[in-house]
């Protein structure tokens, strides 16, 4: 067990974070599963590497909660793909979760970065 974090390894998702991240990735526009994982990798500068084994079940759970909805559509380059979009319920959940996480992250940062 090492005490210093290895920067070469991608971060693991904390409990509950993947759902928020998926919601966030759909905020601007609907997207498909592959697009979502690309978006998260890009935005986190590859700190988050999305495992499809987690992504797909998470999408199903969000569908069950009616936070997102799915529809088959043609992509810009002419491929058929299943697109997910935020529902109104999902949007309110995202707003709530976002402010909660921002507070959490700032508080963590303040504590960890404290001088003494």
């Amino acid at each position: 067990m090492s005490t210093v974090d290895d920067p070469r390894k991608a971060l693991e998702f904390l409990q509950g974070t993947l759902k928020v991240l998926i919601l966030r990735s759909l905020q601007a526009a609907p997207n498909h599963a592959y697009g979502i994982s690309q978006f998260l990798e890009r935005q986190s500068e590859s700190e988050f590497l999305v495992d499809n084994g987690s992504l797909y079940p998470a999408l199903q759970r969000l569908l069950q909660r009616r936070w997102i909805a799915a529809q088959w559509k043609k992509s810009p380059n002419g491929r058929r793909a299943k697109y997910y979009r935020l529902t109104t319920l999902g949007r309110t959940q995202l707003v709530a979760a976002k402010s909660k996480w921002m507070r959490f992250v700032e508080a963590m940062a303040r504590v960890l970065a404290a001088q003494r």
Binding site: G53, Y56, P57, Q64
Partner: protein
């Protein structure tokens, strides 16, 4: 919630659709990745393979995504059940102990619950039974005395809380003209009675208001049982007549079988208004009580206030001795159950405690086994079983075991229940109706599941905490023996000892009470005493002189029988209960206010009774020939009554007892004697004040003849029957028993409760012994190596014994202290059932404590012996 709905929806419609959808979606995902690889310059084949690699495990992803929509699949549950069954077969002795323990706990609880349900909880078998109210009058001192006919009429017509009211009373009649004369029991009821109890005729009709009016033609409705037994089930019986006390009654209807309202079954019903309707005075009390059907929404309190208002109004318009009387009203359910409730609740709690012990035992056994299974669980975790999946499997296994235990328990319960109903006292209402019906089965299922889950909690939690690296390493038997597990097992032992002590204390109290009651002095010599209960038919013995003559001749005839030493007469023998009570006052004492006038039982005895029964005289004389009818009226009182009024019973002699008290009519009697108390209400009941009339001055047609014999009185039963029948074959013998049987019957309920509680106490002790043995044995096994080392470095066997014994003793002491505290606070509930000893008897606590310590020591003995006989050399070499 939302997830569940969509799961249900999904399982109904989407399952197959979703599957295709998912693979399509993932195929599209792969295509996109492959296309990007091609754009980067890979050849198409390689690009597809690379995409597959990048994506990860396709099948597993699809499975996991699908699982999000599914309930645990039936197949996995079945698989877990199969696995559980295999586990049972693999360790049969372990499983047998667990299953047997559960079966005992669940079986006993189910049996007692079905009694509780039948007696206390099941709705009454009448339409709107929950709104039926039992009504009587009350005075300042006594609630539930009879209602006078006139008051009843006022209540019935002037109240606005009841839909309907019905009066009822009991009376005995002698039936003649159909074989031998027999004593029969009648319910006297108003015509509304059958409406309230929801009875319909099986044949003919029931009473109308016309039948119930004074001067109406005499009619009778017979019960199905009487119709079968006495009227030979004759289908043309309607219209025939019955001769009751020499008067002819027309049979107008037959009731269907199965309906019972009165405690003691009645043979037929007569309209009460024919006779009681003749009462003109508001203070004329008979023995009538009433039933009322509350209007929907009306409360019992409102109804009481309503009836009290009527009584207050009547006190103005029709003043008299009834002025201060008020209404007494309780729900019929309560009136039916009466004082059985505390007994049953105590039994239910006791058997619940037994279940707790059983549960603790099973929990500790399962915990031990889960420790043995640590490696198996570790392997499962290592090859990918999630914690939830593992917990589900262990719970399913425990439920399988509990289910088998519960099934066996149900068999056990049905067997116990049959014996319970057989040995149960007859005076517990509806006990015989107790069966394993739906609510009882639901109860049994519920406790089985709860027990399965509770007992399984500890192993499931410890399984979740398995440390793979330790558990998988070869030969680490310490895995799972962690401090937490041991602390949990110690807690279970402490709890078992505490609960067992509570049960042991309760049973020892009851056993002590039963012994005290059985040995309590009944106030007379019950040995070699035969009691013949008779009822002379009024039609044949109309005058007092006829009655006196009959009993005189019978006594003479019985005295002539060889071996009969003496014969006496008593109206209500000891143990016969309350055959009548009335107000009284002493003329020589200052008058009391109306509310303070005391009640006393009264009885009638002849001049031979006290001598025959061997009742001790405290002061004065017995009745004798000088107490002639028409002469100066005399009475003998018992010690209890004398003690309430005079410091020395001798002071009572020559003073005068006014029957009826200061405010009611009644004769004045001179007190000529004081006798010892006899157990009128039963051996375990309080002594009641009693005064005795001489039979010569107040003859009664219903008397009990007591016969003192010079051997086992049962031998004279035949002779007694012969002599009674020889004198007049139309006189029915109501009962023929020895006085000892008669008295013993008063302890029926106490015996029943004591027997059951004693059984539960014994069961608790056995289970606790098994539990203590199991836990200590395990404690020793887990420490074999430590003990071996201690021995190897020079510890003596006695120091090992001290060390292990101290561990056991510590648990026992904590358990005993906690149990004593529990028993002490529980003793309050037992107060009503304790006799001849206080509920907080330190001696009984000591006895119970000693018994529990004895059992614990016995159970701890073998493990401790094992501890001291550890073979150090072999044990250390093995390691």
């Amino acid at each position: 919630m939302r997830e569940w709905w969509s799961k249900i929806w999904g399982s109904l419609h989407l399952r197959s659709g979703l599957q295709n959808d998912l693979s399509d979606e993932m195929q599209a995902h792969l295509d996109m990745m492959a296309a990007e690889n091609v754009e980067r310059g890979m050849p198409p084949d390689e690009a597809r393979v690379a995409a597959r690699r990048q994506f990860g495990n396709l099948t597993r992803t699809e499975e996991k995504a699908r699982e999000a929509w599914q309930f645990p699949r039936l197949e996995t549950i079945l698989q877990d059940i199969r696995y559980g069954l295999r586990g049972i077969r693999r360790s049969p002795s372990f499983s047998a102990v667990v299953i047997l323990t559960l079966a005992l706990g669940i079986g006993a609880n189910t049996a007692i619950f079905s009694v509780v349900y039948s007696v206390l909880l099941r709705p009454l078998p009448y339409p709107n039974g929950e709104r039926l109210v039992w009504l009587g009058e009350s005075t300042a001192k006594y609630g539930g005395i009879s209602i006078t006919w006139i008051n009843f009429q006022h209540w019935r017509n002037e109240n606005d809380s009841f839909e309907n009211m019905a009066g009822f009373a009991n009376e005995d009649f002698t039936l003649t003209g159909r074989g031998d004369a027999v004593l029969t029991h009648a319910g006297l009821v108003t015509s509304s009675f059958f409406q309230l109890t929801g009875a319909r005729p099986a044949m003919g009709r029931l009473f109308t208001d016309a039948d119930d009016a004074p001067g109406a033609a005499p009619t009778v409705v017979v019960t199905a049982d009487f119709w079968q037994r006495r009227l030979d089930g004759d289908s043309h019986v309607v219209g025939e007549s019955l001769s009751l006390d020499g008067k002819s009654y027309e049979i107008i209807g037959v009731l269907p079988p199965g309906r019972r309202f009165f405690w003691n079954p009645v043979d037929f019903y007569l309209p009460i208004g024919r006779s009681a309707g003749a009462h003109l005075k508001r203070s004329e009390h008979g023995s009538m009580r009433a039933l009322g059907l509350l209007k929907p929404g009306a409360t019992l309190t409102q109804a009481r206030i309503n009836l009290d208002d009527i009584m207050q109004r009547l006190a103005v318009t029709d003043p008299g001795p009834e002025n201060d009387h008020r209404a007494f009203a309780i729900y019929l359910t309560e009136a039916t159950v009466g004082n059985v409730r505390p007994v049953l609740l105590i039994l239910m709690s006791a058997v619940g405690l037994v279940l707790i012990i059983a549960c603790a035992n099973v929990a500790s056994l399962l915990l031990v086994r889960s420790t043995a299974r640590t490696r198996e669980i570790a392997v499962r975790v290592a090859i990918g079983a999630g914690r939830a999946r593992l917990a589900r499997q262990l719970f399913t296994e425990n439920l399988v075991v509990a289910g088998i235990g519960g099934g066996l328990g149900l068999l056990l319960a049905s067997w116990c229940l049959r014996s319970l109903v057989l040995i149960g006292p007859r005076d517990i209402p509806r006990l015989s109706e107790a069966t394993l019906d739906l609510p009882v089965l639901v109860f049994a299922t519920a406790i089985t599941i709860v027990v399965g889950l509770l007992a399984g909690v500890a192993p499931v939690f410890s399984a979740g905490k398995v440390d793979l690296t330790i558990a998988l390493k070869e030969g680490s038997p310490t895995a799972g023996v962690g401090k937490r597990g041991q602390a949990f097992r110690n807690t279970l032992v402490i709890a078992e000892i505490a609960v067992t002590l509570i049960l042991a204390f309760a049973s020892s109290l009851l056993i002590r009470s039963l012994i005290a009651a059985q040995n309590s002095d009944p106030g007379f010599d019950a040995q070699h005493l035969l009691a013949i209960e008779l009822q002379l038919p009024e039609s044949r013995y109309k005058s007092d002189e006829n009655v006196r003559q009959y009993y005189g001749q019978l006594a003479q005839s019985l005295r002539a029988e060889l071996g009969v030493e003496d014969v006496g007469l008593v109206m209500c023998p000891p143990g016969g209960g309350d055959c009548g009570d009335y107000w009284y006052s002493i003329l020589e004492k200052p008058p009391l206010t109306r509310d303070d006038v005391p009640l006393s039982l009264f009885n009638i005895v002849d001049d031979g009774y006290f001598r025959t029964a061997n009742v001790r005289f405290v002061a004065g004389r017995a009745f004798n020939d000088t107490d002639r009818p028409g002469g100066s009226r005399v009475t003998i009182i018992n010690e209890q009554l004398a003690h309430q009024l005079w410091p020395d019973p001798r002071l009572a002699l020559g003073q005068h007892l006014k029957v009826g008290g200061t405010y009611m009519e009644g004769p004045t009697l001179e007190i000529v004697g004081v006798v010892a108390n006899t157990s009128q209400m039963g051996l375990d009941a309080e002594q009641m004040p009693t005064f005795y009339y001489p039979f010569s001055q107040k003859p009664d047609s219903a008397m009990t003849v007591v016969v003192r014999t010079n051997g086992d009185p049962a031998q004279w039963m035949k002779a007694a029957r012969r002599r009674v029948s020889a004198l007049d074959r139309n006189v029915p013998i109501q009962s023929l028993r020895t006085a000892e049987d008669w008295l013993g019957a008063t302890l029926e309920r106490r015996r029943f409760a004591t027997l059951l509680l004693g059984l539960f106490g014994a069961l608790a002790m056995i289970l606790a012994a098994v539990g203590i043995y199991g836990v200590l044995n395990y404690w020793v096994s887990a420490r074999q190596k430590e003990i071996a080392i201690r021995l190897a470095i020079g510890a003596s066997r006695s120091s090992i014994l001290r060390w292990a014994g101290l561990h056991a003793a510590r648990l026992a002491v904590i358990g005993i202290v906690l149990g004593a505290i529990g028993a002490w606070s529980a003793s309050r509930w037992l107060e009503s059932m304790v006799f001849g000893v206080t509920a907080r008897s330190p001696l009984m606590m000591l006895v119970a404590g000693a018994a529990v310590i004895g059992i614990a020591a016995l159970a701890a003995g073998l493990p401790l012996w094992r501890a001291t006989h550890t073979d150090a050399v072999r044990n250390l070499h093995q390691g």
